[in-house]
Every structure is written in C-alpha cells, then in structure tokens.
C-alpha cells in the first residue's frame, strides 16, 4: 500500500525576497499540477504546511512557492538557502476549473499572500491566451511593499490588465487606494460570459459587494480558493472542514455559492 503521508526530498534552487516577511522558494521538481492546487512542504523538526503553487503549470524544471514568515515552519524555511534540501508531497486538491473558465472573460481578485495560486493561473491563461477573453487582475495589499511577485507584473501586463490597490499608499503610489468602486469602471467585460476567481482570505466580502456584484457576475460563476488549517492533505484528519466539504480534497477551489451557505 502506498504511504500517502511520505514526503520526498527536493532541493531549493533559488530564494527571492519579495517583502519584509515574504520569500519565494524555487524547488527543483518537475511536477504535473493544475493551477490552484497546493503542496505540503516539510522541514523536518519544524513541521509540515500547505502552500499554493505559484509557478507556471508548463514549467517542467521547478515549482515556486511563496512563504510568509508567520509560524514555526515558515520561520525555519526563511533561514534556508539555495542548495538546501526540504521535503514535499502533493500536489493536492482540485485546482481551478480550467475547462469551465476557458472562452470567458476573467476577473481575478486577490490580496497580499493570496497571489500564488492566481499567479499559476495567470501563467496558464497567458500560455493559452487565444482561449480566453478579456482578463483582469485586481491585486490588493496593505502597503506597496506588501505586493508580491512584482517582477512578473510587466510581463503579465502585456496580456492581462493589472489593477493594483493598497490600503496605505506611499508618496510614489500610482495605483488605487482600497477596494474602491472606481475599479469597476476600469473593467470592461461581458458579464453574461465572465467568471471571477478569488483567493482569500483578504477582503472577499468587500470585493463581492463593491466589484463583482456591480459588474453583474453571479455567485455561481465566482470561484474561491480557500485556506484552512491542514495536517493530512488527504481528507482524514478533519482540520480543514468547511460545512460538508474538506478543503484539501473537495477544494481548495469552490464555487462561491457552494461555500457561501456553510456555517463555518
């Protein structure tokens, strides 16, 4: 019987500092995955935790994860350097519904550390741009320094429209302030044939009220990538439940109207 809990070794190829407390780790691994899926990363002695994959699903020599220094494991990961080895298992979960969203206009919304799975989806969309309509990314953060994966914005910007917004702008800031309704005016989509993709835990309800509802995108065409505590990744340990679903197995991507009714 296969031991589904057993992680395998991967080498860190590169570490990039993305903000005061966020680093990107490039892991040497050829992994088949769907944008929106996650992996469980282990650093023995410090534990194991889930991370969304941020790199392109077409990239066959590495995967990227983006790690905010927030707990025991992430603190330990931040001390590692290229050449160091860690462990991982996965990919897990369903990923974004690529067939459903193809052919449609897309509004992606995320905040702060929610960008990794969205980044993987952007890479997929760009690689298949003929299959998609108009594509927007609304990306918010607390301050301009908290925006992650900034080096990609220029390249992404050739194929998709990026709208940046921060809560606390500095004097050089040229984007928006807060999740404001003005953002709606920038978005030109055919609401009848558009989907939205969100990755929380950011200002999800705010986005819904101020942007997605005014745009006319119904809840059933909004997909959310959810975050929960996870231990097993295979639907056994019960930590990641929401309502009748396991985020690890049934998600992490859900129809918004499916999870909206959940009591937790």
């Amino acid at each position: 019987m296969e031991n589904l809990y057993k992680p395998f070794k991967v080498k860190i190829a590169k570490v990039e500092k993305h903000s005061n407390d966020v680093k990107l780790f490039r892991l040497e691994k050829n992994l088949s995955f769907n944008p929106g899926q996650f992996i469980l990363v282990s650093h023995f002695g410090y534990g194991e935790a889930p991370f969304g994959i941020a790199s392109s699903p077409y990239q066959d020599s590495y995967i990227d994860i983006v790690v905010r220094r927030v707990g025991t494991l992430t603190k330990a990961l931040h001390k590692l350097e290229p050449g160091d080895e860690i462990f991982m298992r996965g990919p897990y979960g369903n990923g974004f519904p690529l067939d459903f969203i193809s052919g449609k206009d897309i509004v992606m919304v995320t905040g702060g550390c929610g960008i990794p799975p969205i980044a993987a989806l952007i890479e997929y969309i760009i690689a298949n741009k003929d299959k998609f309509g108009r594509v927007y990314l609304i990306y918010g953060a607390k301050t301009p320094n908290d925006l992650l994966m900034k080096d990609n914005f220029k390249r992404w910007g050739k194929d998709i429209k990026i709208l940046l917004t921060v809560d606390e702008p500095d004097k050089n800031w040229k984007g928006y302030k807060g999740m404001v309704s003005e953002l709606v005016d920038e978005i030109k989509i055919d609401a009848k044939d558009a989907v939205s993709v969100m990755c929380g835990p950011g200002p999800m309800m705010d986005v819904l009220e101020k942007i997605l509802r005014p745009l006319g995108i119904p809840d059933r065409r909004i997909f959310v990538n959810m975050e929960r505590k996870m231990q097993c990744g295979i639907g056994k340990c019960q930590h990641c439940v929401t309502g009748d679903k396991y985020v690890c197995e049934d998600g992490p991507v859900f129809n918004f109207d499916e999870v909206d009714k959940n009591w937790d």
Binding site: Y5, F44, Y46, R68, V70, K236
Partner: protein, 307 residues
C-alpha cells in the same frame, strides 16, 4: 449444524492462541479498540539529520483483540471504511491488516456488525461461532470448536437503548442537526462543555489527528508523530498567524455534532456514532449526547419545517 465452543473452554483456547500470538482482551480498556490501529501517539517518520534520509518505522506485530461490545465491532467496520476510502491511511492499515478481531458477546447477535469472528452466547454454557472472514476461520480450526446439531438457543436481550433506536433514522438526525445551528441548546452546551476533548478520545469512531515534529535530544534525529486530536480543542482550526476558523467552544461543539451526524451521513450514509455511551460516561461536565440529540430531533419535528 452450528459451530460451538463451551464457555469453560474459551479460556483454554485463548491460552493456546497466546502461545503464538499477542492476544489483547479489551474488556478493561478505558480507550476504544481504535487505539490498537490508530494509536493515541505514533511515530510515523524518522528523519536522520546526518544522512538526511527519511525512514518509516516498520510494524510487524500481529495481534488478536478480544472485544466485548457489538458497538465496538460496528465502529471498527465503519472506521475501516473511513480509513480505506478514497485514500487509504497507510499507518492504520499497517496495523489493521495484521490484526484479528474477535467479538465475545454475552447477548444474542442478530447480525454480526463486524470483526473477523464473533462468539455469541446461546446458553449459560455455550457460545455459537459466527465466522466473518478468512482470518477468523483460521483460528477456529482446532479441538476447542465442535459442530453440534440443534444446540439449545436462548435469547439474551441487550439492554434497552433509546439512543440506539434514534440512530436507525440517520437521515432524520442529519436534517435535525443541520437545522439546529441556531438552536439555543448550543449556547447551553457551550457553557457546560469544558472543551477537554475526552468525548472524542473515548469515541470508538472519532479519528481526528494532528501531525507534529519533535527533535531527539542529541539533535541527530527528527521524529514526526501523529497523535489524536479533538475538534473541540481551542487550536483545532487555528492557522499560523492566529486566525481561528472555529473560535468559540459553541462552534467547535456544534462542529463535532455536525461531523458525526451531518457530514458523516453525506459521506457514508450513516451517522458516525454507535450509541455506545462512552462519551456520556466519561464527560466530566455530565453532558448526555443522547439527550442532546433527542431534544434537537423533537424540536425539529415540532418547528423544523416552519423555521
């Protein structure tokens, strides 16, 4: 023809089994028999910090477990299903596959709910053998068992258990518990429950766990352990950074019920409860889960459809 063992010979048979096997009688166990396949704390991986290699401890011990409650046997059938589908739990099956489960039951058995072999009391001197699996068949091929034509069969009724009756309609329980989210009973229970988690530890079906690493004192090895967790404990749904998806005892207690009676019904078509009463007997706050369910179901029948 029925296969029979004399009551006074059971001891000798077990003694014979003990010569070549580890035989555990679970009669006096405080914890349910899940503990033998899903131990309260278990080392699952050892990482050698010098060689950087990962090992999983091998498990070779074969055990025979004697179980005295039909509820426990039923729970094991359910737990096998939970740990089997859709992703098999390696560490559970590593032990479970090497085990033989014998039910030694002092009441009449209508349908054997699980185990490899069930010995059912049929009169004051004899037990009838019910073989459920090949593994069970193997251990009765000896002089202690004999075929008898028309043995005396008496009826030994189990204790009356209204809670057990309620479980027969697990669809109703699922609907009622789902409906009860805003019922005042959860506020009452939140005040009463100490959040100690004992109900989940003594439950033959609860199977929450967490996985943690510890470093050996000489710093040469890291050991990854899996241990029982309880969804009623404060940090169960808390993530790094501090956000807690089940902040209050009320949410956590409801989640426990929601899992057992609503989510379990959707996943497996039955409640994850066998009405064994372990939770009630061990609750330091005196919460009676059967009574809680009864109240919810009665109110649901009265008001459910109108709210």
């Amino acid at each position: 023809m029925d296969l029979i063992i004399e009551k006074k010979q059971i001891k000798d048979w077990l003694a014979e089994l003990k010569k070549e096997n580890v035989v555990i009688d679970s009669k006096k166990d405080a914890l349910p028999i899940k503990q033998y396949f899903f131990p309260p704390k278990q080392e699952i991986f050892i990482f050698n910090k010098e060689t950087k290699e990962l090992e999983s401890p091998d498990y070779k011990k074969e055990i025979i477990i004697i179980c005295h409650h039909l509820g426990q046997l039923e729970a094991m059938t359910q737990l096998d299903e939970i740990m089997g589908k859709p992703n098999p739990d390696f560490f559970y099956w590593q032990r479970r596959e090497k085990s033989i489960l014998i039910g030694l039951i002092d009441e009449s058995v209508e349908v054997a709910p699980g185990g490899d072999l069930v010995l059912e009391k049929i009169n004051s001197k004899q037990y009838r053998v019910l073989i459920l699996t090949e593994k069970g068949k193997k251990i009765i091929k000896n002089k202690f068992f004999k075929e008898i034509d028309k043995p005396e069969i008496k009826n030994y009724l189990s204790e009356e258990n209204p809670f057990k009756e309620m479980l027969l309609d697990s669809e109703l329980l699922a609907d009622a518990v789902k409906w009860s989210k805003n019922h005042k009973i959860w506020d009452k229970l939140a005040k009463k429950c100490l959040g100690c988690g004992i109900c989940t530890y003594v439950c033959p079906l609860c199977h929450c766990f967490s996985i943690d690493d510890r470093v050996v004192l000489d710093d040469k090895e890291c050991i990854r352990c899996r241990q029982w967790d309880a969804c009623t404990l404060p940090n169960f749904a808390k993530i790094a950074g501090g956000h807690n998806f089940h902040k209050t005892i009320k949410e956590r207690y409801y989640n426990w019920f929601y899992h057992k009676f609503v989510r379990a019904y959707k996943e497996y078509g039955k409640a994850q409860c066998v009405a064994c009463g372990n939770c009630k007997r061990n609750c330091p706050a005196g919460i009676n889960i059967g009574d809680v369910l009864k109240e919810i179901v009665e109110d649901y029948k009265k008001h459910g459809k109108s709210i």
